[in-house]
Structures are given as C-alpha cells and as structure tokens.
Amino acid sequence: MEARDTKGKIIKETFPSEMVSIVGDILAGIVLSLLIISFKSFLLLILIIPALLSLRGNLSGPFIARTSRDFIIGEFNKKTWFENVLATLVLSLLTALAIGVFSILINFLLIKLYIFHIGLLIVIPVISIALTLSISIPCSTILNFLAFKRGLDPNNVVNPVMTAIDDFFTVICFYLTIIMLGVP
C-alpha cells in the first residue's frame, strides 16, 4: 500500500504542474515554428533562442524562490523586493551581453552568415530579456502574493505556472524585438 501511495502521489503532484508547463511551451513552440522560421536570418536567430530560454529559467526561477521565501518568513517589503529585482535585472543583462558576444564568435567560426549588422546579435538578447523580465517580474510577484494570501505554498504553485508563462513570453518578446529592430 505504501509503495502504491507513493507512486500515485508522485504522479498526482507532478503531472498537473507539468501539464501547465507543457501548454506554455507548446505555445512558445507555435511562435517559433510559425513566426520566427520565416525570417531570412533564422539560422542565426535559432542560435540565441535556447540560450535565452535557459537564461530566463536560471534567473527568474531563483527570483520566484526568493520572493516566495520572503512572503513565507514575513520579510517581504519594498526594499527586499527592489534588491531582488535589481539583482535579477543586472545578472540577466550581463548574461544577455555574454550570449550576444558568444553568438558573434560562433557565427564567425561556424555559421558564417552575415545577413545583418553583427552588433545586433548583442542588442537582440539584451532588449529581448529586458522585455521578458518587464512582464515576468510583476507577474510572478503578484502570483506569489495571491498564492500566499490564499494559504497555498507559493513554492509549489508559482514556479510551474511561471515557467509556462515565461517561456511563452520569452519567445514573444524575442519576436517583437526582431520586428522592432528590423531584422531580416
């Protein structure tokens, strides 16, 4: 009985949140396969997208966790939130810059596609991640607050939902960025 309960418990607890994540990522995939594949510079753009999705996950995940922790231990206030936001923004922008620099290097060494000004490979990830965080940070803060107010553990609820939302908006903001910059 204990073995069956544990297996069933794992499935009951993990599968619903995984479904939320799947839906968000499928929507992100639709944007990729319908909108971004039609760009002439697609082979260059696809270089940046997995790195941006990883960046988003590795930085907004800890932001969500720190906000959850602050709510739970009763230390959430403007100062702690602002410090958290600033740290996340600075780290994200620095990492986006690094993504851009490495993309230029990889293009120079391997892909050798020079369809647009190479400096755009730095600008695109920086603007894209800034736009994504402008949506992700307020959303996750509000979700954390609502989950906490309703007596739920924000750690269990917010992360899978925000993974889905963030992955979708990462790709949307990337698309908006390349449209704004006139990338061919």
């Binding site: 499935i11 995939g29 594949i37 082979l43 270089l47 997208i49 960046l55 990889i106």
Partner: protein, 163 residues
C-alpha cells in the same frame, strides 16, 4: 549549453525544415525532461537528508517507487505533449511530415534521456551527498542545461540514423 544547443539546431537546418513539428514541440520536450529530472534530484536529496534512502549505490524500494512514479509521469506528459502538439500543429497549418516516424523518435529520445538522467542523477546525488554537499545546488543547474542540449542532439542523431 544553450548556445551549443542553438548551434546544433542552426547547423541542422535540413532536419528543421524537413520536420517543422520539431520546432513546435522542442521547448516542451526540453522542459519535460528538465522538470522531471529536477523533481528527481529534489526528491533524492530530501530522501538522503531525512534518511529514507541510504547513501549507497544500490537498488532500494524507495528508489523503485521514485523511478516508476516519475516514469509514468513522463509517459503521461509525453502523450499529452505529442497529442497537443499535433492538434495545434494541424490547426495552425504547420506541415506534418511522417508523423509516426517523428513520434517514435520523440518517444525513444525522451525514454533514453530519462534512463540516462536517472542513473546519472542517482549516482551523482549519492557521491555529492557523501562529500557533505547539497546535491540540489550542483545537479539541478547541470541537469537543466544538459537536457536543453541533449534533447535536440539525440533527436537529430536518431533522425539521421533512421531516415
């Protein structure tokens, strides 16, 4: 790792253009294996800290429960992902080429990755725990990045082999 994954996709444009459905489901496949692996590491770490799993590389009932629970979850997730992906792909007009072949490739890729990740993470958790460190801090970042790279790599390799 994300840039390596992007480079891999960029250098295999023929596969991407031949099977556009890959781009649609790839973020979900990465997310699925990454999430399940993260849950596994988190559970193993908790078991080790509370003592329900002994820090020895051996099969135990607890380990079997985790394996079967997560294996069934990943099968259900894969079924949902493929169904949703193909339905939305048809509705949005994305070209669906040789669906049975690609579905088989996705299933083989995810099951092989799950098996490899399970063994790697189990052994990694034990070894890191024995050194007095928290496996969560080391393994979770590694496994999410590895999943992002290995998923498209295996898909492309299997397509090249079986096509």
């Amino acid at each position: 790792m994300g840039l390596f994954s992007g480079t891999l996709l960029s250098n295999n444009e023929r596969v991407l253009y031949s099977f556009p459905i890959i781009l649609l489901v790839l973020p979900s496949l990465n997310s699925l294996i990454g999430d399940i692996s993260t849950v596994l590491v988190s559970r193993l770490t908790s078991h080790l800290y509370i003592g329900t799993l002994s820090p020895k590389i051996q099969v135990s009932d607890r380990l079997k429960q985790d394996f079967y629970g997560l294996f069934i979850t990943i099968l259900l997730g894969l079924a949902a992902l493929i169904s949703l992906g193909y339905i939305l792909g048809s509705v949005t007009g994305i070209q669906i080429v040789n669906p049975l072949f690609i579905i088989s490739i996705f299933i083989i890729t995810i099951l092989i990755l799950f098996g490899l990740m399970f063994i790697f993470l189990f052994m990694g958790s034990i070894l890191i725990f024995r050194k007095g460190k928290d496996p969560n801090n080391f393994l979770i970042p590694i496994v999410t990045s590895l999943a992002d790279f290995l998923t498209p790599l295996l898909i492309i390799i299997f397509i090249q082999i079986f096509m």
